[in-house]
Subunit: 185 residues, 2 copies
DNA sequence: GCGGTACGATACGCCGCCGTAGCGAAGTGC
DNA sequence: GCACTTCGCTACGGCGGCGTATCGTACCGC
């Protein structure tokens, strides 16, 4: 039947958003989903397996992946999508608690890195196309560029824990592009 | 006597650095410090009180607060200090786990905000003096400026979880200053 | 409508942690 | 050196989570 699986994952994702990655217990998932604890253990071998699967649900919703031909416009679109997520407490809780837990568990570190690299793919794509067009200098370090662009946004939302305003995103883009547009030292 | 208090705080700070803010139990502190659980409860009314006090130890070590008259040089010094902390796994664990937990507990949110505003005071001081000297435009939004400057560094260390290189810090400074030096829109 | 499967409910033993209590042994002040 | 404080040790009842086992039942395909 597997009619319970979906509701279990949904409940688990909601709990991750509320309580954080390490604050979710199987008992709580069972209570919230209406499923029995036994049923959960029938579907997943361990707590980690369930969490990993449920995590995708609340963090994987992809960013837009525009290709307008204009670097600035592409960035505006993709960072608009990112801003929506950064201003969502549940998303921040999920990502933040996983990032935190990743420092103490190799398995979680892998999950976190996978999530990260999947999530920023739209952005790296934009940057690579901009390099091909000549809008950004060749040999650009994509990793550095991503950190320069989204770093201020993540800091604002997840460290300072304050809302990310559209005007601030614009400033961050201006700052990053001013630097990235220069030939490298 | 109070000879036990110091060792308890020290053990608690070490555990925060290792296990994160919400991964510390009184029993673990007792075992690690050599003190009895009873003694801990004699000194602190609750787990939270102890954690708050111990947190200061492993996160409060102040950044340098230079005033060389040169904005770039001041930034170089203070961000050098910050980079040392960001490349320390214990510091990241402490700050990151508190930032994460702050989303679910008002008391911890206050502690986190206090830690943040204390920690960035050297940086805000530098920026304010630069504005007074005319090196930065008047009316500069200090909050925005701080996020622009340190955001990429925090992202690199605590989100991407990779080492922060000196060259990257230089690029982040260049990017932020290029934007901050402009008149605001 | 009959077998098989997926499920819910309950109960179990185990563990780790909570916060408290009682006691005896050190160290400290005078 | 005596009173007093601080401390370590042990034990307690309670709680919540773990992962497993058992049993009864609802749903499915055919």
């Amino acid at each position: 039947m597997i009619r319970s699986k979906a509701s279990i994952i949904e409940a688990c994702a909601a709990l991750i958003a509320e309580e954080g990655f390490s604050g979710v217990s199987i008992e709580a998932v069972a209570a919230r989903s209406g499923a029995a604890k036994t049923t959960i253990y029938r579907h997943w071998p361990s707590r980690e397996a369930l969490l990993a699967e449920a995590f995708g649900v609340c963090a994987d919703a992809a960013l837009p992946s525009p290709d307008t031909g204009s670097l600035r416009e592409d960035l505006r679109v993709v960072l608009g999508g990112l801003t929506l997520k950064l201003n969502d407490a549940g998303w921040c809780s999920a990502i933040g608690s996983l990032a935190d837990a990743a420092g103490r568990d190799v398995t979680l570190e892998r999950l976190h890195q996978t999530t990260l690299s999947t999530g920023r793919r739209p952005l790296t794509g934009i940057l690579e196309r901009a390099v091909e067009r000549g809008d950004l200098p060749p040999g650009l370090d994509i990793e550095d560029a991503v950190a320069l662009i989204v770093g201020p946004l993540f800091y604002r939302a997840m460290i300072a824990r304050q809302p990310v305003a559209e005007a601030f995103v614009a400033r961050a883009v201006d700052a990053a592009l001013a630097e990235l547009g220069r030939a490298r030292t």
